[in-house]
């Protein structure tokens, strides 16, 4: 055998086990025999250490305590096994009572651009319309209002048309801006 005894071999020898090679080594190696001796001494000390013995009647109270815990545990489990189906039944009744719930239709939010450039003035149809409205309201227009706008303009009174024209020109109704 080469080297000293491993920790495992020391424990085996201290416990009365160990193979012949380990025993032979320990017999000729003071260091290893010292380690085995220390382990044996600690084991002997531990084995002499008693714990207080409970009173003889204690064992019946221990069994009684276990019986009680098992009974309580069974009651708890029974309560749960009763409550869970009851809760499920209640939920089912609620669903039937309210009818099948349809999911609300999902309306997509309008997607508006955060910013868009204005068209150039010569390309802006809206400006031409406004100009036409303003001039025709004053009877000065040689521009015709777009066809789609005529019904709306026809519905305005003379005073409303004038006010609209002044507003578009930058003058508030009844005064200079």
């Amino acid at each position: 055998m080469t080297g000293h005894l491993s920790e495992e071999s020391v424990v085996e020898m201290a416990s009365g086990e160990g193979d012949p090679a380990a025993r032979e080594h320990a017999a000729s190696c003071p260091e290893c025999s010292g380690r085995v001796h220390d382990c044996r001494a600690s084991l002997a000390l531990l084995q002499q250490t008693e714990i207080p013995e409970p009173a003889p009647l204690y064992w019946e109270s221990l069994r009684s305590g276990v019986r009680q815990k098992i009974a309580e545990d069974k009651r708890r489990v029974s309560a749960w096994t009763l409550l869970v189906p009851l809760a499920a039944a209640a939920a089912l009744v609620l669903v039937i009572w309210n009818g099948p719930t349809k999911p609300a239709p999902v309306v997509a939010a309008p997607s508006l651009p955060a910013w868009s450039p204005l068209p150039a003035a010569e390309d802006d149809e809206g400006l031409r319309v406004l100009e036409g409205v303003a001039l025709s309201a004053e009877g000065e227009a040689d521009l015709e209002a777009p066809a789609g706008l005529a019904p709306y303009l026809a519905g305005l009174s003379e005073e409303e048309s004038r006010a609209l024209a002044e507003t578009l020109r930058g003058r508030g109704p009844g005064g200079e801006s």
Partner: protein
């Protein structure tokens, strides 16, 4: 429900209940386990009677006081009852039960104060005139205090190996470890114990 006593050998029930129930034989134990798996609580009472003493003592070695040992032992048996349908007999019932008890001890965090504190309170004043019994009690407290300071795996290994007369393989199975690890843990536990006892002597 069939009576558990009928499922067990004659005389078993009466001999098993008092004391540590040493009369419970292997066949009777198997019959009791089978009855427990059918939900017969009386059969479990017989298993409790059989193992209450070693399980209580294991717990006591771990927590060093009666009240916590009692609570832990009851908790271990309750867990065993809940899980007995999963016991397949691949290991001995005792090994399975020890494993449950050790886990209960390892998980135990409800102590009001460190175990060593309680033990060391009794170490403060070894009366020079005390008789041999008092001296032995004092020495036992010192040893138990030293054991309680060991790292948990070392402590569990030491308690199972030294106080429950189990083989290294059985301890390994209980702790979910290997035989080599058990031996190494035991070696370090004994070495730590020796150091602690020596440092305690140098303080006194």
């Amino acid at each position: 429900m069939t009576s558990t006593a009928l499922a067990l050998p004659l005389g078993f029930a009466s001999s098993a209940v008092p004391g540590d129930g040493a009369g419970l034989e292997r066949d009777a134990e198997r019959a009791a386990i089978a009855a427990c798996r059918r939900g017969e609580r009386e059969a479990f009472d017989l298993l409790v009677a059989r193992y209450q003493r070693p399980i209580y003592r294991l717990c006591y070695r771990y927590v060093n006081n009666h009240d916590d040992a009692n609570d832990l032992a009851q908790e271990a048996f309750l867990k065993a009852w809940r899980a007995i349908s999963s016991f397949r007999g691949e290991s001995a019932f005792s090994t399975w039960l020890y494993r449950i008890a050790v886990n209960a001890c390892l998980n135990h965090r409800a102590l009001r104060r460190p175990v060593t504190q309680e033990l060391e309170e009794g170490l403060a004043d070894p009366n020079p005139g005390a008789d041999a019994a008092v001296a032995r009690d004092h020495e036992a407290r010192r040893v138990r205090a030293a054991v309680s300071r060991l790292p948990e795996r070392q402590r569990a290994t030491l308690i199972l190996k030294v106080y429950h007369d189990l083989t290294h393989a059985e301890v390994a199975e209980i702790l979910g470890s290997t035989v080599g690890t058990v031996k190494a843990n035991l070696f370090h536990a004994l070495a730590n114990l020796k150091r602690q006892m020596q440092s305690g002597e140098s303080r006194t």
